[in-house]
Symmetry: C2
Subunit: 343 residues, 2 copies
């Protein structure tokens, strides 16, 4: 069989603020691959089907000398993120051609993996769409599930405030909070997202672009649990509306990744209100919760008790640059996924 | 017996920034008390011997409509704080004349207490100076002891950074950290305080007014435990030098009480470094640790294993206004105490 195209999305330039499609990341079609003869060295050859576009990717687009929780992307090399692939060929007895795999994949149409420890076979007994495995049943869902269980200390009747509540993480957190009997206040950046948050159970849902967050929390709070995906002004509003002994789950600060940080002025409330703030990375919690997650979550989706978040689907690897920017700007209308190939 | 003077320090005006001696608090000698005939209504009459001046008092000098963890001082009424008194007369069988008592006392030379639930008799088997009972053996010591035990999760070989390390709280925390086998970095605002911090065991001690905190932490960190008494720039430096999974114990933010808050710009590190931040009020932790505290701490002082902090002693209730300002500015040279009367 003749070599075929193996397109890639290359990390080309460190952005100074928002990533620029075609410059921060460049689509490259110069490579080819022979699927039958490419050496596997005992590993597996994957065809990439789905790639996830997540907010945290911005933090990896940095100078390699700046340490952080995830390694920086290497200039000139493909991006990487959670995705789903199908096994084309395998020299590893644990994997067979045609099986689906979830894990961190390079932004390439095909890739060879000799290290397979962090690749998980997707059993999919519940017949979910493959894209769910990078959303509610993947990294974002695990983020919501693990941290809520670990840090929320939720008590029936308490009040939770959840930011980016229409996203893959936030929409799951809303539903977890409701299952625990909390009153849920949720925010997002469009009226369509507000409608979706109400649909999945938020008691109070508002568009933070047209409604003042502090005023909502003043009226509907004080809040016992704050799920922070945005930082900045929302964090300040939450600190201002925090109940005594509130728990703040610090999942991300999307409002701060691309611009000059917002100066939060009421950190003193941490002391007086005895607030506990939990910064975390999902991968640190996952080993403790992985089995429970896979035992519980797919079944809840099948039974209809847990709703999948909406998806913002882009077709083809070439669309990654625009999708990355949309997620940083919040103009995506659901969990951003790239369908690299249909099968 | 004829009535005698019962001088008081009255809360007179809410300060806009630093408290102003003679204006924020006014010394008033217009009242008299007859020690033999003043009605006790089943309570006790105390002569005030020692009053503590603590940083947190500033937070009580506010509009009564602003809720906070401690009630606001009432305008026209005496201040209150932890102190030591001696029983002059008692109608309560649990207290006898001549016994020493620790608790929250009004800023008056004499006071009648009908509510005695929160007054504790000082046994003082270890023959400590009475002023120690508002310092290392009182509220500040309990603050250090309870929160360190509850939140530090200290592991031998880790690194701690402790602010206001020459004060009543900080000096105890330095010694607790050393007892747990940590490397201790400590800061304070004068060279004399730096010398004292070294004397009690700090491995690295520096004057934050003449030495850049971030540079010290860059060289001597990263830090696993941060004891925050100051907030603002020090908190920002600690966030910048935090190790993965660092614990931040938020005891106070003295740098932020009297001025426009400092904009901390690197809150994002909370997420990436999985930092846990514990705001607390000592009184919430004390019930859990009180017995252990009194069993352990006085004995450690007597044996010389735990050094008392230095004291900045003012004589006479009239000195309270200046002492309050000094503690807010940090110009005191040790735990600030007012010796209201010798006996």
């Amino acid at each position: 069989m003749a070599p075929i195209r193996n397109a890639r999305q290359i990390f080309n330039e460190i952005p100074t603020d928002y990533p620029v499609p075609g410059r921060t990341v460049v689509y490259d079609t110069s490579q080819a691959i022979d699927l039958e003869s490419v050496p596997l060295h005992g590993g597996i050859l994957l065809k990439t089907l789905v790639l996830s576009i997540d907010p945290y990717l911005r933090s990896r687009m940095r100078d390699m000398n700046i340490k952080s929780y995830m390694p920086a992307f290497q200039l000139g090399e493909p991006l990487q993120n959670f995705g789903v692939g199908v096994v084309v060929r395998s020299e590893n007895p644990a994997f067979k051609a045609g099986e689906y795999v979830y894990g961190v994949l390079p932004f390439e149409e095909y890739s060879v993996h000799t290290q397979v420890e962090d690749l998980y076979k997707i059993e999919n007994n519940h017949n979910l769409p493959l894209s769910a495995f990078v959303g509610t049943v993947g990294m974002p869902g695990q983020t919501a599930y693990c941290a809520w269980k670990e840090y929320a200390q939720a008590k029936k009747g308490e009040v939770a405030f959840i930011t980016t509540g229409a996203g893959a993480v936030g929409s799951f957190v809303i539903q977890l909070a409701k299952r625990d009997g909390l009153k849920v206040i949720a925010s997002a950046g469009s009226d369509e997202k507000v409608a979706f948050m109400k649909e999945i159970g938020a008691d109070v849902a508002f568009n933070y672009k047209t409604t003042n967050t502090s005023q909502v929390l003043e009226k509907e709070g004080p809040i016992d649990v704050y799920w922070d995906n945005v930082g900045g002004e929302a964090l300040e509003a939450a600190l201002g509306a925090a109940a005594k002994n509130a728990r703040f789950i610090e999942c991300g600060m999307i409002s701060q990744y691309n611009v000059k940080p917002y100066p939060v002025m009421n950190l003193m409330n941490i002391v007086g209100r005895e607030i506990k703030i939990y910064g975390f990375i999902m991968l640190s919690l996952l080993p403790k919760y992985r089995d429970a997650f896979y035992a519980e979550v797919p079944a809840l989706i099948t039974s209809g008790e847990l709703k999948l978040c909406k998806e913002d689907v882009s077709k083809g690897l070439e669309s990654a640059g625009e999708a990355i920017l949309a997620v940083q700007k919040g103009t995506n209308t659901g969990k951003s996924v790239i369908i690299v190939a249909d099968q």
